[in-house]
C-alpha cells in the first residue's frame, strides 16, 4: 500500500513540475493569440510584432491564389501586418457555425449580402469606420455604398464584383453566319427564330448546381425584371413586398418561358435545363460541333470556357448585354460580388488598414492584371485588364448608375431558396407556373 502511494506521489510531483513550466510560457502565447498586437513570441523572432488579420471567404481554387497575390501587395506595403485568408466552399455554413460559436474571423466576405445583413441585424458586425466610408464615397458610385448598408448603417464594402445579364456567343461562328447583336428584345426573339432554322440550337442552358440548383434561373428573371419593372418595383420585389404571384413577376417568368419552354430554342429542351450543370452548359458554345449559338451568364462565365478559348478570349468570344424589353424602362445592371464585413470586437487598427486599402484603386491592379475579375473602383486604369471583353464589362460596371444587386442573393434566405426551388420545379415540370409562384410566396414567413 505504502509503496503505491509513494509511486503516485512521485508521479504527481513530476506532473506538477511540468505544468509549472507550462503556466509560465502560457501567458504571452495566449495573449498573442488574442491579437492585441503588443505580445511577442519568443521562439520566432522573425515574426516579432507581426499583427494577424484573418479573412474568411468563399473564394477558392485559382481565384484564391489571385486574391492572395493581391493581398501580397498590401503585405509588402505593410510588412507588420499578416493577412491570413481562408477560402471555404461551404462558406455559408461555416460562417454561421463560427458566429454561433463565437469563433469569428476578423473579416468575412459574404457572396450573398443577405447573410451579412442578417449578421448585422443580430448585432454581430462592427459598422465601418468614418474614414473608410469617406474612401468609399470617393472611390465608388453611390450604389455600391447602398449595397453594403444594412439597417441604415454602412457595414460592408465591395472589392471584386461581377455583372450579370450578358449574352455570350462564339464569335467566329456568329460572324460567319452574319448575325448581329440585337438591340431590342424583339430583335433577340427574331434572331432566335432565325437560329432555330439552323441545325444548332439558339441557347445553351443548364441550371444544375447540387442543392443550389436553380440559381442560374433566378439570374434570368432578375435581368428581365430590371428591363420590365422600375427600380423601385424591383427593390420591393427583392424586399419581399412585391409577391411572386403578381402580374409583374409572372410576366418575367413568361418572358423567360418564350425561350426556356420552347424545346427548339434551348439545346436539349427543359430536361437538359433542369439537369445540366451550370458550368458544363457554358462549354456548349465551343463544343467541337457547337451545341448552341448563345449563352446567358454573368461576367464570370469566361472561367467555364475551355482553356484554348480563354487564351484568346477576344478572338473567340463575343458578348452583348440583354437588350431592353420594355422601351419605357431604362435597363438596370444586375451585379454581384463578395461584401467584406468586420465582426464585432475585431475592429482593430490593422483590420481597418486592410479594409481601407480594399477601397483604393491600388488594390485592384494586381488582381485585374491576372484576368477574370472586374472591379467597381472609379478611376482605375482599364489597361490593366487583359482583354477587350473585360474592359467593356468593367466600364459598364464603373459607370452603372442604376445597378441593383443580384436579387435572389439579396432576398431573405428562405425566399432565396424558395426562388431556386420554384424555378427548378417550373422548368422540370414538377409544378406549373402558378403553383411554382404560389409556393415561392408561401416560403416567406
Amino acid at each position: 500500500m505504502r509503496r503505491t502511494y509513494l509511486l503516485i506521489a512521485a508521479l504527481l510531483v513530476a506532473l506538477m513540475t511540468l505544468s509549472a513550466c507550462g503556466a509560465n510560457t502560457n501567458k504571452p502565447a495566449a495573449s498573442s493569440d488574442s491579437g492585441s498586437g503588443t505580445a511577442t513570441q519568443p521562439t520566432t523572432p522573425a515574426n516579432t510584432q507581426k499583427k494577424t488579420v484573418t479573412v474568411l471567404g468563399a473564394v477558392v481554387g485559382q481565384e484564391e491564389s489571385q486574391f492572395n497575390a493581391a493581398i501580397a501587395d498590401f503585405e509588402k506595403a505593410n510588412p507588420d501586418i499578416d493577412i491570413v485568408y481562408t477560402g471555404a466552399n461551404d462558406f455559408a455554413t461555416l460562417v454561421e457555425v463560427k458566429a454561433q460559436g463565437g469563433d469569428t474571423p476578423d473579416i468575412a466576405m459574404f457572396p450573398q449580402p443577405g447573410g451579412a445583413a442578417r449578421m448585422a441585424k443580430d448585432g454581430k458586425l462592427a459598422p465601418l469606420w468614418p474614414e473608410v466610408i469617406a474612401s468609399i464615397d470617393k472611390n465608388y458610385e453611390k450604389v455600391w455604398k447602398e449595397l453594403g448598408t444594412f439597417e441604415g448603417k454602412p457595414y460592408g464594402l465591395f472589392h471584386r464584383v461581377n455583372a450579370k445579364g450578358w449574352i455570350w456567343y462564339n464569335k467566329p461562328a456568329f460572324e460567319k453566319a452574319g448575325y448581329k447583336a440585337p438591340a431590342t428584345w424583339d430583335e433577340l426573339m427574331k434572331l432566335v427564330e432565325t437560329m432555330k432554322s439552323t441545325s444548332t440550337a439558339p441557347f445553351c442552358e443548364g441550371i444544375g448546381a447540387g442543392d443550389a440548383t436553380g440559381w442560374k434561373g433566378t439570374d434570368w428573371i432578375e435581368s428581365i425584371m430590371l428591363r420590365t419593372q422600375s427600380p423601385a418595383s424591383y427593390d420591393k420585389w427583392v424586399a419581399g413586398e412585391l409577391k411572386f404571384n403578381t402580374p409583374e413577376v409572372k410576366k418575367a417568368f413568361t418572358t423567360l418561358g418564350q425561350i426556356w419552354m420552347d424545346p427548339k430554342a434551348v439545346y436539349g429542351g427543359q430536361k437538359t435545363i433542369a439537369t445540366l450543370d451550370v458550368a458544363e452548359s457554358a462549354k456548349g458554345l465551343f463544343a467541337s460541333t457547337p451545341n448552341c449559338w448563345l449563352h446567358f451568364q454573368g461576367s464570370f462565365v469566361t472561367s467555364f470556357f475551355p482553356e484554348n478559348i480563354q487564351k484568346e478570349l477576344d478572338k473567340n468570344v463575343g458578348v452583348f448585354i440583354m437588350p431592353p424589353i420594355d422601351p419605357k424602362v431604362e435597363p438596370g445592371l444586375a451585379v454581384g460580388g463578395d461584401v467584406f464585413v468586420v465582426f464585432k470586437g475585431k475592429d482593430r487598427p490593422e483590420v481597418k488598414k486592410f479594409m481601407e486599402w480594399l477601397t483604393t484603386v491600388d488594390s485592384t491592379v494586381t488582381w485585374a492584371k491576372q484576368g477574370g475579375s472586374l472591379f467597381p473602383h472609379k478611376g482605375q486604369d482599364l489597361k490593366n485588364y487583359k482583354t477587350e471583353i473585360e474592359r467593356t464589362m468593367a466600364k459598364t460596371i464603373t459607370t452603372a448608375k442604376a445597378a441593383r444587386f443580384d436579387g435572389s442573393d439579396a432576398m431573405a434566405a428562405e425566399l432565396n431558396r424558395a426562388f431556386w426551388v420554384g424555378i427548378t420545379n417550373w422548368v422540370s415540370g414538377t409544378s406549373n407556373l402558378d403553383t411554382a409562384l404560389k409556393e415561392i410566396d408561401a416560403a416567406k414567413k
Partner: protein, 356 residues
C-alpha cells in the same frame, strides 16, 4: 490511520485533477514542437484516465464493503454516462426547446414549427419518400440480395466465394458521397443525338431507345437513388448473413435431407429460422440508415424533383434558410421516427445475446 488514509486518498485525487488541468493548459498554449505536443497529449489522455481511475478506486477502497459495492459502479460507469448526457441528452433537450422558438431562437412560437413539420408540402413529400420508398425498398432489397449472395456463395468453391464476397463488400469502403459521384455518371443525361456519357443512357441508346433523364422522372427517381443505397448496403448484409449461415450446424441440414426436404425447403425451414436474429438485426440497422438518409439525396438531386427527404429538409432549413426553429422541429421529428426502430433493434440484440 484508516481515516488519515482516506483523507490522503481524496487529496491525491484532487491534486491529480489540478495537475491534469494545468498540464492541459500547458499543452494547449505552450511553445512546443507539434510532434511532442501530440505525443504528450496522448500520454496526458491515456495516462490521465488511468491515473484518475486508479485514484478514484483508491478513494472508494476506503469505504466500508457495503458502500464500496454501491460506489464502484458509479466510479467506473459514471464518467461515460456523464459524457453521453453532456454531448447527447442535453443537446437533444436543447434542440427540443429550440423547436418551440422562431427562426432566430428569440421568440416563443409554441407548436408552429411542428405544424410546418407535419403539414408543409416539402415535409409530406419527405415522409412519403422516407417511409414508402427508402424504408421499404432499400431495406428489403439490401436484405434479399445480401441473403441470396450469402447462400449462393456458401455453396461455391471457397476461393471463388472469397473473391465474390470481396467484390460485393467493396462498395462498403466507399462513402455515400463517393458512391453518388460514381452513380451520377451512371444516370447522366444528354439530349438525344449527343454522345451519351452516362452508362445507363449509353446502354438504352445502344439498344435503339430514347435517352432518359432518369433523375427527373417522378416518382421513379427515388428508386434510382435507392439503388445506390442497395449497392452500398448489400455487402454489409451479405457479410453478416454469411457468418450466420456458416454457424448453422451441418447436422440440421443432413437431417432435413434424410427426411426428404428439397434445397428450397431446407433454406426456408432450417437456414432462415436459424439465422432469423441476424436478419432482424441487419434489417433494422439498414432501416435506421434509410430513415436518416441524407448524403445520397443531397449530392444527387439536392432534394429537387420530388426526391426530398427528412434529413435534407433539416439541413436546408438550418444552413440554407437559417431557420433554427424549423430545423430543430424537423430534427425532433426525425428522432421520434428513428426511436421505435432503434428500440426494436436493441431489444432483438439483447434477446440474441442472452440466447447465446
Amino acid at each position: 490511520m484508516r481515516k488519515a488514509q482516506g483523507i490522503l486518498s481524496v487529496l491525491f485525487f484532487a491534486a491529480a485533477l489540478l495537475v491534469l488541468e494545468q498540464s492541459y493548459v500547458y499543452l494547449r498554449d505552450g511553445q512546443i514542437a507539434q510532434w511532442l505536443r501530440a505525443l504528450l497529449a496522448i500520454i496526458w489522455g491515456v495516462g490521465g484516465i488511468l491515473l484518475l481511475f486508479t485514484l478514484a478506486s483508491n478513494v472508494v477502497e476506503q469505504f466500508s464493503p457495503r458502500w464500496k459495492r454501491r460506489l464502484v459502479p458509479i466510479v467506473f460507469v459514471g464518467p461515460a454516462t456523464a459524457i453521453v448526457i453532456w454531448y447527447l441528452a442535453l443537446p437533444a433537450v436543447r434542440t427540443f426547446v429550440a423547436s418551440l422558438y422562431d427562426a432566430n431562437g428569440k421568440n416563443f412560437v409554441g407548436l408552429a414549427n411542428y405544424i410546418y413539420a407535419f403539414t408543409s408540402r416539402e415535409m409530406l413529400l419527405s415522409f412519403r419518400n422516407n417511409f414508402l420508398f427508402w424504408l421499404i425498398f432499400a431495406t428489403i432489397f439490401s436484405v434479399i440480395f445480401g441473403l441470396l449472395i450469402a447462400v449462393m456463395a456458401d455453396r461455391t468453391h471457397p476461393l471463388f466465394e472469397k473473391i465474390c464476397k470481396a467484390f460485393i463488400f467493396m462498395p462498403m469502403a466507399i462513402s455515400m458521397v463517393g458512391a453518388s459521384v460514381i452513380w451520377k455518371f451512371v444516370y447522366e443525361y444528354r439530349p438525344a443525338g449527343a454522345p451519351q456519357i452516362g452508362l445507363l443512357n449509353a446502354i438504352v441508346t445502344g439498344l435503339g431507345g430514347e435517352p432518359q433523364a432518369w433523375l427527373l422522372q417522378q416518382p421513379w427517381n427515388n428508386l434510382f437513388l435507392i439503388a445506390i443505397m442497395i449497392w452500398l448496403q448489400t455487402g454489409y448484409a451479405m457479410v453478416i448473413f454469411s457468418a450466420a449461415i456458416k454457424g448453422v450446424p451441418a447436422e440440421l441440414h443432413e437431417a432435413g435431407r434424410i427426411d426428404g426436404a428439397g434445397e428450397i425447403q431446407l433454406f426456408f425451414k432450417i437456414t432462415l429460422p436459424t439465422i432469423w436474429g441476424a436478419v432482424v438485426t441487419v434489417a433494422t440497422t439498414i432501416m435506421l440508415a434509410t430513415l436518416k438518409i441524407f448524403d445520397i439525396v443531397q449530392s444527387m438531386t439536392g432534394g429537387n424533383f420530388g426526391t426530398q427527404v427528412i434529413a435534407n429538409v433539416q439541413y436546408t432549413q438550418m444552413f440554407r434558410q437559417f431557420n433554427y426553429g424549423r430545423a430543430a422541429s424537423v430534427a425532433i421529428v426525425l428522432l421520434l421516427a428513428v426511436l421505435p426502430v432503434m428500440y426494436y433493434n436493441l431489444r432483438q440484440f439483447s434477446k440474441r445475446t442472452e440466447a447465446f
